[in-house]
């Protein structure tokens, strides 16, 4: 036995191929590791963004004082000639770090005073680091963050409180009230005046249409037509003048209302002193959120953390998208994706049924399969190009010619918009739905179909009552997968209607409520735009992470759902073959 075995060792290792197995395993581990690391990176940075950091106060050796949040710490190589100029203590430390020096990226804020959002501070410059309890962080409507010590609370220019405690008491007393008044004003501006503007635009278009008709009538040289068009135009003009008078009054009304509100909330202010001794008065309504970062308990921090998450998901963006929330982007993504599935699911299912139940010859099926695989393989940007040229510039432009002539040359449907974007993505995700539905129809055992036919059902009845209900989970899978693909795709949207900041949402309270021609914001495009087009990119990157986290969460959840349904479906039908 042992002799036999001994002889076999000559080929034992060779046939076992253990080193190669390690290599193949390495491939798998590498792939899994990459996903893991990527997700970890996004989760860590995305989750951490909103956690309130302490305020660090640096006293520099040069006498300058800086205050803010430390956002990054790194080591960098210091040139030798610079090292020699330092004190011995610094030199020793740097030598210990093999010529590298620690530096802090400090978010110093106070942009209107400093003209900088961030500043690098190297360790050798620092004389003293403190964490002052009184220092406050303000998140503001404009100019980004503010770091300072509160000095006075003022109402109507009169000082009512000077010590920390009473300032805070006043702040808590008035802040929510002031913010409420302010939000009322924004509401009026956005909703009421928005509606009014919309009406004015509509009336203006009516007048223009009447004028266009008149022009057409004159061109046609038909006297009767000219006459009626003339009358119509005059009536429209009269209406328009009346309307203008009314709208002007209405507008003045709103302005007065806004002024009243403003008077009420603009009188509250806090005067702050910055770390370098400058004074700055900040109106209470400008403050979105403020806290004494170094005096927070864990509970307070948690509340701020979740408060920021809520704001992130429900608020509109501020400060060139680098602050505030991404609600319009979430909304745009959801509306676009839903619209897309509205188009893609019926067509995808019909195509799959055709292939599986109706198409007969093998040749046709082969061609169809090649077509579908090509549809799946065509780069998404090509769909974008097609969508822009075909949907927006060809179909959209014709719609404009027919129905929105008065608005020309400003395009209505003749440019990128949510309808065209979702149609483009529908085309893009069609293969996903077709393949998933096909798989599900395949899984319906033939015996069921035969049973149905045997009972005298027609083909359509069989499909409707036997095949489709059983294929439903598969169709759902396709639906979900296409949604996940649609939510994550960016390149075609860049061409067909996603924008960095959409003034109006695609669905709102103004008739006809759904505005398919409007451009929209999209989470994926938001990431691209924030990370690459933002001026203040250091401040934007944390937001990119959180947006990424949000997008990945949506996409991964949708996928997990689809995979779960599919796996269940497979199990279910393995058992149901009879």
């Amino acid at each position: 036995m042992s002799k036999f075995a001994r002889k076999n060792y000559k080929i034992f290792f060779k046939s076992k191929g253990e080193p190669m197995l390690w290599l193949t395993g390495g491939g798998l581990i590498a792939a899994l590791l990459m996903i893991g690391l990527l997700l970890l990176l996004v989760i860590k940075n995305g989750m951490g963004t909103f956690w309130p950091d302490p305020i660090t106060h640096f006293e520099l050796k040069s006498g300058d004082k800086l205050m803010g949040e430390v956002t990054k710490i790194e080591y960098f190589k210091l040139p030798q000639e610079k090292i020699t100029l330092l004190t011995e203590q610094d030199r020793n430390r740097i030598e210990k770090n093999s010529g590298r020096e620690k530096r802090f990226l400090l978010r110093i804020g106070n942009f209107e005073l400093t003209n900088e959002h961030f500043k690098w501070v190297s360790e050798f410059e620092i004389a003293k680091i403190t964490y002052p309890e009184d220092a406050m962080i303000l998140e503001r409507l404009e100019w980004g963050r503010f770091y300072g010590f509160p000095k006075e609370f003022r109402i109507d220019g009169k000082v009512v409180a000077t010590d920390m405690k009473s300032i805070m008491k006043n702040y808590e007393e008035y802040h929510s009230k002031v913010r409420y008044l302010w939000s009322e004003k924004v509401e009026i501006e956005k909703k009421e005046i928005g509606k009014l503007n919309h009406k004015i635009e509509k009336e203006r278009l009516k007048l223009k249409e009447a004028k266009l008709n008149l022009q057409k009538a004159i061109d046609s040289n038909d006297q009767d037509r000219i006459k009626t068009a003339q009358e119509k135009y005059e009536r429209a003009e009269k209406d328009f003048n009346l309307f203008t008078q009314w709208s002007k009054k209405e507008y003045d009304n709103y302005v007065k209302k806004i002024d009243d509100l403003k008077k009420n909330y603009e009188k509250y202010a806090i005067k702050f002193v910055t770390s370098d001794g400058k004074e700055k008065e900040i109106k209470l309504f400008e403050i979105v959120r403020s806290y004494q970062a170094n005096a927070l308990s864990f509970w307070d921090k948690t509340m701020i953390y979740f408060g920021r998450w809520v704001e992130f998901q429900t608020d509109h963006p501020r400060e060139a998208n680098s602050e505030g929330g991404v609600f319009p982007a979430i909304f745009g993504t959801v509306v676009m994706t839903l619209l897309m599935s509205l188009f893609v699911v019926p067509f995808g299912v019909i195509a799959a049924i055709y292939m599986k139940e109706y198409a007969k010859s093998g040749k046709i099926i082969s061609i169809l399969r090649i077509a579908i695989n090509n549809l799946a393989g065509v780069p998404s940007i090509v769909y974008g190009v097609f969508g822009l040229g075909f949907f927006a510039y060809t179909i959209g432009a014709s719609i404009d010619q027919l129905f929105y002539e008065a608005k020309l040359p400003n395009p209505t449907f003749g440019t990128g918009g949510i309808l065209w974007a979702s149609l483009t993505l529908a085309l893009l995700t069609l293969p996903v739905v077709i393949v998933a539905t096909e798989e599900a129809i395949n899984a319906v055992p033939n015996s069921l179909r035969e049973g149905s036919y045997a009972c005298g059902a027609t083909k359509w009845q069989t499909i409707r009552n036997i095949v489709l209900p059983r294929a439903m989970p598969g169709i759902m899978t396709g639906f979900i997968l296409s949604m996940s693909r649609g939510a994550g795709e960016v390149a075609p949207l860049m061409l067909t209607g996603a924008v960095k900041l959409a003034p109006e949402m695609p669905v709102d309270s103004i008739y006809p409520f759904v505005h398919l021609e409007r451009s929209f914001m999209h989470l994926g495009f938001h990431i691209y735009d924030l990370g690459f087009q933002s001026q203040n990119s250091d401040a934007a990157i944390p937001m990119v992470y959180t947006t990424t986290l949000l997008l990945i969460t949506i996409v991964v959840l949708l996928n997990v759902m689809a995979i779960y349904i599919r796996n269940r479906l497979r199990k279910k039908f393995i058992g149901s073959v009879f």
Binding site: R6, K10, P19, I218, N373, G377, S380
Partner: protein
């Protein structure tokens, strides 16, 4: 009952037709995409068309020398050597005449400012500025054919319900008063808002250059003109006849003189106070110059000669000595009939021009594309000049009769060659592939070569495939054959989730996290990639020392060992090896080495040669040492055999490295440097750019891995179970089964997986857009940026004007992408179908 049956039948039929319609309709969407792209691209390659608008006899005979046309092709100003005539073309009448007070001895023209420079015999230089105006008399939408009439020097254009009035105004400005009594024989000038640059040659062969600067005093509003003059005596250079043409180039750095017999003198005017003759030569031996003018932009000279040729010239870099420019012929066009060229008129819009020859033949060409745009057959007796308007859509041929044509040449600069071939653009020294679609300047010529973009696409794709294919295939093989069964679904689902990660996220990570991170540890990054497989194979050999029972049960632990031992070991080895290699081969700083060419290229060659070293070492081993190795294994104990295996591994490793060093040494001896002068491909690695092909390749590999993985895993799984069982039953190990049975059977499926991955990588947009630096260059350097077709479309299409040349070329880029992926996908699908048939027969 019957009714119900009928209803059923109708429902059935309707469903059938609707579904068939929907199904086929849905699928013909592919065709629609293709056709639409094709349809949009097609007009690019169409040639132009001309249609006659009107023909009118002129009421007065003018000896036309030059002229200028208004924007609408309705009025023109004609110069006959003495006076300027204003012509109303549709009625054929001279409506105005501007006389110059003295005899004109020389004239020059400047299309950009619509002006003539006229030198009179009293030594005065006058600039005649022409202004064409259009006024609306009666507003309305013009319809039908207009009628024209003249009233008080105005040309009226009347439609049924609209009327317009055209007028021409010629303003004469005295600009220079030369004190000398010498006759001016040649003149040219360039005017801009405040400056004029005038050059003239007097009969005593002295070239004068005047610079005039108009300044307005802000306080008093007074206008002062500063004049500075400089001259050069050319009497030594000009012998015999005086030159016929004088031209100033756009940058005012050189003044060129041409003689009828083909002689040419170029004067360098970079230093205003010290002119020198930079070049003197004879352009032609046997031809005579009959007409000469600038192409738009004042950079290229068009020379018409007596043999009927129009040649285009500009200074190019002398191949012998750099920084020295010689005036050379770049393009040549033949106007036909072997008769002299009579007149050339350059377009105001692009690099095209009209040639009129003595036999009355009129043709239009585009310089850079070489496209023969249109031929006109003017049945005008004795055509003298031909004019084009600003918009390039009206041509007017003038002789005894005026004929006006509507011109429609949508895309003169595009030919198949100008998009896919090398093109020599204006002022460049050699033909090249360039993509540059827009620029700030007016005279800019867009450069639409798709080659840099296609090159970028293929570069990114290949690098990413180099990384993705091994990882994905190894992972697929391991999952389907060796991973514990209960993990398989989990692993597959995880990788499917990887496939669903939006590419914008990957792009963001690549550009803002990976590239700044890798920038500081380039070598470490590369070495980690080399060291991970090394340490895995090394650990595999080590594990053979374990008792046989444990080794046989390895499937259970191998994954964890790889994760916690193999990969960390690889990273560790990479991170300690990289600084060592950097110090010993790259002079301590890899990035400095990349662009400091006096350092030896040896280290770089070693790096590049490592794969070849490994392949060569394996080959030599199989060829010469395999029998020896087998004989060593004969009659060994278990541990002994494992030990010999390990030794073999080390010997192979060391010999691979030695071979790569030898190869590198050989290449250095040959004098090749991979940083700049390899034949054909120039460089493999040079200056490091933060966002480069290596990073994009890595992250794009990330996007492609799941696709290749899923499809090839499916292919492996689809290998019929009985083959597997038969092989194992015959005593083969799992590894042998995989290598000899499963992989060969699944090969076509795996191949199609690779193709599908390839197709996906070609079209990937966001990663490249964000992480590739977007520089459209043809460069093999793996550390440089690039631009792909898809990223280019994403960047430029939103700004392209609809139906412009740029817009259509971008559609062409999309079509190229579509066709590339179509071929790849169809090919992959056909292989897959064949494979499916084959495997079902097994």
């Amino acid at each position: 009952m019957k009714n119900k049956n009928l209803g059923r039948k109708i429902a059935d039929k309707t469903a059938k037709y609707l579904i068939s319609l929907g199904g086929i309709g849905t699928i013909s969407a592919v065709l629609l995409v293709f056709l639409f792209l094709f349809w949009t691209v097609l007009p690019l390659f169409k040639s132009g068309s001309v249609n006659k608008i009107f023909s009118q006899k002129i009421d007065q005979k003018i000896d036309m020398q030059h002229g200028m046309l208004d924007e609408y092709g309705l009025s023109a100003v004609i110069f006959d050597g003495k006076s300027l005539y204003t012509l109303s073309l549709p009625v054929g009448k001279v409506v105005g005449k501007k006389d110059i007070d003295a005899k004109v001895t020389a004239f020059g023209h400047n299309e950009k400012s619509n002006s003539y420079y006229l030198a009179t015999e009293h030594g005065k230089i006058v600039e005649a500025v022409i202004k064409f105006t259009k006024e609306v008399v009666r507003d309305g939408s013009p319809k039908g054919t207009p009628s024209y009439s003249i009233n008080d020097h105005y040309l009226y254009e009347s439609y049924e319900n609209a009327q317009f009035r055209y007028s021409t105004n010629i303003e004469l400005v005295d600009i220079i008063e030369t004190k000398s009594d010498k006759k001016i024989v040649l003149i040219d000038g360039i005017s801009s808002d405040k400056n004029r640059f005038i050059s003239y040659l007097t009969e005593d062969k002295i070239l004068h250059i005047n610079q005039l600067e108009t300044k307005e005093n802000i306080m008093t509003g007074e206008v002062i003109t500063d004049l500075s003059e400089s001259k050069i005596d050319l009497s030594k250079n000009i012998s015999g006849a005086l030159p016929k043409y004088l031209k100033i180039n756009s940058s005012k750095t050189s003044i060129m003189l041409f003689f009828t017999d083909g002689r040419f003198i170029s004067i360098d005017t970079k230093d205003f106070n010290n002119f020198k003759i930079s070049e003197e030569k004879k352009l032609f031996e046997d031809r005579k110059i009959t007409y000469l003018d600038f192409l738009i932009g004042r950079n290229s000279i068009l020379i018409g000669d007596n043999k009927g040729f129009v040649t285009i010239w500009w200074p190019t870099e002398d191949p012998q000595s750099k920084n020295n420019y010689v005036f050379s012929q770049i393009y040549s066009f033949y106007s036909g009939n072997d008769v002299p060229v009579k007149f050339i008129y350059p377009s105001h819009r692009d690099k095209s021009f009209l040639i009129l020859n003595e036999s009355g033949r009129l043709s239009m060409y585009h310089m850079t594309s070489g496209k023969h745009l249109v031929d006109l057959e003017p049945n005008v007796s004795n055509p003298q000049i031909v004019l084009l308007n600003q918009k390039n859509d009206k041509v007017v041929v003038l002789g005894d009769v005026i004929t006006s044509y509507k011109l429609d040449i949508p895309h003169p600069e595009i030919t198949f060659k100008s998009v896919f071939g090398k093109v020599q653009y204006e002022l460049t020294s050699k033909p090249d592939y360039v993509w540059q679609s827009s620029s700030g300047s007016d005279d800019f010529e867009p450069k639409f070569s798709l080659i840099p973009l296609i090159f970028g696409t293929i570069k990114a794709t290949l690098i990413s495939m180099l990384f993705a294919v091994p990882v994905a295939l190894l992972a697929a093989v391991y999952t389907s054959e060796f991973a514990p069964r209960r993990f398989r679904t989990t692993i597959k689902s995880t990788i499917e989730i990887m496939a669903s990660l939006p590419s914008v996220v990957l792009g963001f990570i690549a550009a803002l996290i990976v590239s700044p991170f890798v920038e500081n540890i380039v070598l470490g990054f590369i070495f980690t990639f080399l060291m991970i497989p090394f340490s895995l194979i090394f650990l595999g050999h080590l594990s053979q020392f374990l008792p046989k029972e444990i080794l046989n049960a390895m499937d259970r632990y191998r994954m964890w060992l790889i994760l916690f031992l193999g990969v960390p070991m690889g990273i560790f080895l990479g991170s300690i090896l990289a600084p060592f290699v950097e110090k010993s081969l790259f002079y301590g700083d890899f990035k400095l080495w990349l662009h400091k060419f006096d350092y030896s290229p040896f280290g770089g060659w070693v790096l590049v040669m490592i794969p070849f070293g490994i392949i060569l070492a394996l080959y030599l081993y199989r060829k010469f040492l395999y029998d020896f190795y087998e004989s060593l294994l004969e009659n060994r104990s278990y541990i002994g055999a494992a030990f010999i295996e390990l030794i073999k591994f080390f010997v192979l490793t060391i010999s691979s490295i030695t071979i790569s060093f030898l190869l590198a040494y050989l290449l250095v001896l040959l004098g090749l440097d991979l940083r700049f002068d390899i034949p054909f491909i120039e460089s493999i690695m040079t200056t490091y750019v933060q966002r480069n092909a290596l990073i994009v390749g890595f992250i794009m590999g990330f996007a492609v891995i799941p696709i290749i993985y899923t499809v090839s895993e499916d292919a492996l799984n689809a290998v019929p179970e009985h083959l597997r069982s038969a092989s194992l039953a015959a005593g083969a190990t799992q590894w042998q089964t995989v290598m000899n049975i499963i992989l060969p059977v699944a090969m076509s499926g795996i191949f199609s997986a690779i193709m599908i991955g390839f197709g996906r990588a070609i079209g990937e947009t966001m990663i490249v857009l964000m992480a590739a630096g977007n520089t459209p260059i043809v460069d093999m350097n793996i550390f440089s940026g690039f631009r792909t077709l898809s990223a280019n479309i994403a960047v430029e299409l939103p700004e392209a004007v609809i139906n412009s040349t740029h817009y259509r070329v971008l559609y062409l880029a999309a079509l190229v992408l579509f066709i590339m992926t179509f071929i790849i996908n169809t090919f992959a699908e056909m292989i897959r179908m064949k494979y499916r048939k084959k495997s079902s027969q097994l």
